[in-house]
């Protein structure tokens, strides 16, 4: 589980864990910013509207008779 805001040390550990070992300090600051933006985005996903039966599908659904 990610905390609300990641710190640079946490990001450094997480980056190493997935093999991002060649990032410079500047890259690491970018990753920190990117990770916090992604986290903020997660918090606004309207997941409360989902029920267990809501499963993924492709982008659109065809009506009966469509030949796909």
């Amino acid at each position: 589980m990610q905390p609300d805001h990641l710190t640079i040390d946490e990001v450094r550990r997480m980056a190493a864990a997935i093999g991002l070992n060649r990032l410079s300090e500047e890259h690491m600051q970018q990753l920190l910013h990117a990770a916090n933006v992604a986290h903020a985005r997660r918090t606004i996903l309207p997941v409360a509207s989902l029920t267990p039966a809501d499963e993924p599908a492709h982008v659109y659904r065809h009506r009966p008779g469509d030949e796909r």
């Binding site: 997480m14 060649r22 990753l31 992604a38 996903l45 993924p56 982008v59 659109y60």
Partner: protein, 464 residues
């Protein structure tokens, strides 16, 4: 010669077929214009006059001998540089792929080649279709022909700039979160993101598999429909391709909008975001004009823009990072700063968040498509703001996100951006028209009715 610069596909094809226009003379006129002006616009990443002249000469010979192949025979075009053209590098505007020579054509490039089109070159993009405008890449960013101090929009930046500048009448772009429609909006041309699966993506560098689309970019609605007619079609080897009949996208042109039902998604640009006043006024004026032409206009509501954007970006960054993870481990320094940061946003997205975003996509798509029981098309803004200055990174970042295009990447719906005016300072304004899946023909019908009733298609940038 100058009358050739803004000749459209349909008009040029008619002249070429009637042997009143030489494909070679046409190509030479545009090549000369590109040579004169593109050093200031950077629309081309790889300008290919030798190939263009060879294609044009071949077309001319065939046509003289009675072998006219169709609308695109002898018509100049360009490809965003994430689309493969055999024998040339597909660089994605990135140092990482600088030497990535394509061994074969993308399906869409093959179709243009087979149609006898005249290939002018590869067009600038944002790095990997996500990072731009950037000044730290091997090639400079494209600039807006209406004012070259301003942003083109992206990521199909060169396609937008080249088409608007009169360098070519048609180009292809790609659209994962709005990347055909953004430069179409900011450069004052027509750009369509087709229904997901309508156009093969094989041979095109992916950004996010389940959101990627290839789309036509032209100066007129008819030209756009003609290009879609050419590139649409089932491809067994594209796992996202839709197996259904295509074509007929010009069939409804000229029928007007009398009796058509238009739903205006006003909350996108008045409540979820506050669009620029000139943009709002131009879109509202376009809707009023369509009502005067006989359309039945009502306001409709869908999910908030922020919900769509969160779903789009969660899916996009997750899928994109899966593609870029190896390069991000091995060559992070070879990305430009913007692409690196935007792509790294997918590094730590939780699996549950990605799955939930795809669950939400289905639910939101179903709800959005249900609205079309009562309407034929929806209209809303495309960009919330006119083009900002390209040298203002904060404004570029801010305005990049102020858009209402990504909802239709989430729903997979066809969506078209077209010009609806100019700001007081002479920058393009645009609206977006959306329809139910695979109903591109109705979008073109509405767009052409508006185009015919307004005079924006006759306005072009003056290149200094």
């Amino acid at each position: 010669m100058s009358e050739l610069f803004f000749l459209g596909v349909a008009d040029a094809a008619e002249l070429i077929r009637a042997k009143k226009l030489s494909p070679v003379e046409y190509a030479k006129a545009l090549l000369e214009r590109i040579e004169r002006h593109d050093s200031k616009l950077n629309a081309f990443l790889r300008f290919m006059p030798e190939i263009a002249l060879a294609d044009a000469r071949r077309a001319e010979t065939e046509i003289i001998q009675g072998g006219w192949r169709g609308i695109f025979h002898g018509i100049p075009y360009g490809l965003k540089d994430i689309i493969d053209y055999a024998g040339l590098p597909t660089t994605a505007h990135s140092k990482i792929l600088r030497d990535n020579v394509a061994s074969s054509d993308a399906v869409v490039a093959q179709k243009l080649r087979a149609a006898g089109g005249v290939f002018m070159g590869k067009l600038s993009t944002h790095e990997f279709a996500i990072g731009g405008p950037s000044f730290d890449l091997p090639w400079p960013p494209a600039r807006n022909p209406w004012n070259r101090d301003h942003f083109t929009g992206g990521s199909s930046s060169g396609s937008g700039a080249a088409t608007a500048a009169g360098f070519l009448p048609a180009a292809l772009g790609t659209d994962t979160g709005g990347s055909v429609r953004n430069p179409a909006s900011l450069c004052g041309i027509v750009g369509l993101k087709p229904t997901y699966g309508l156009v093969s993506r094989r041979g095109v560098l992916p950004l996010a598999y389940s959101l990627d689309h290839i789309g036509p970019m032209t100066r007129t609605v008819r030209d756009n429909a003609l290009l879609l007619d050419l590139i649409a079609g089932y491809d067994l080897l594209d796992p996202g391709s839709a197996n259904r009949a295509t074509g007929g996208y010009t069939a409804q042109l000229g029928r007007g909008v009398k009796g058509l039902r238009i739903g205006v998604i006003r909350h996108f640009y008045t409540r979820d975001m506050q669009a620029d006043a000139e943009m709002t006024a131009a879109v509202e004026a376009a809707v009023t004009l369509l009502a005067e032409l006989g359309a039945e206009v009502r306001e409709i509501e869908t999910a908030p823009l922020g919900d769509y954007a969160a779903v789009n970006r969660t899916i996009l960054t997750s899928e994109a990072f899966a593609i870029h993870e190896r390069w991000m481990r091995e060559r992070p320094q070879d990305y430009g700063a913007l692409a690196r940061e935007r792509l790294m946003a997918g590094a730590f997205v939780r699996a549950a968040d990605y799955v939930n975003a795809t669950r939400l996509r289905r639910k939101m798509s179903d709800a959005f498509h249900a609205l079309f029981a009562d309407i034929d098309v929806a209209i809303t803004t495309s960009s919330m703001d006119p083009a900002c200055r390209i040298d203002d990174p904060v404004a570029c970042e801010t305005t990049y996100a102020r858009q209402s295009r990504s909802p239709f990447n989430v729903t997979g719906s066809p969506a078209l951006s077209m010009p609806v005016g100019l700001t007081k300072t002479g920058l393009p304004l645009a609206m977006q028209i959306v329809a139910r899946p695979f109903d591109e023909a109705t979008i073109y019908r509405v767009a052409e009715a508006y185009e015919q009733a307004s005079d924006w298609k006759s306005r072009h940038p003056v290149l200094g």
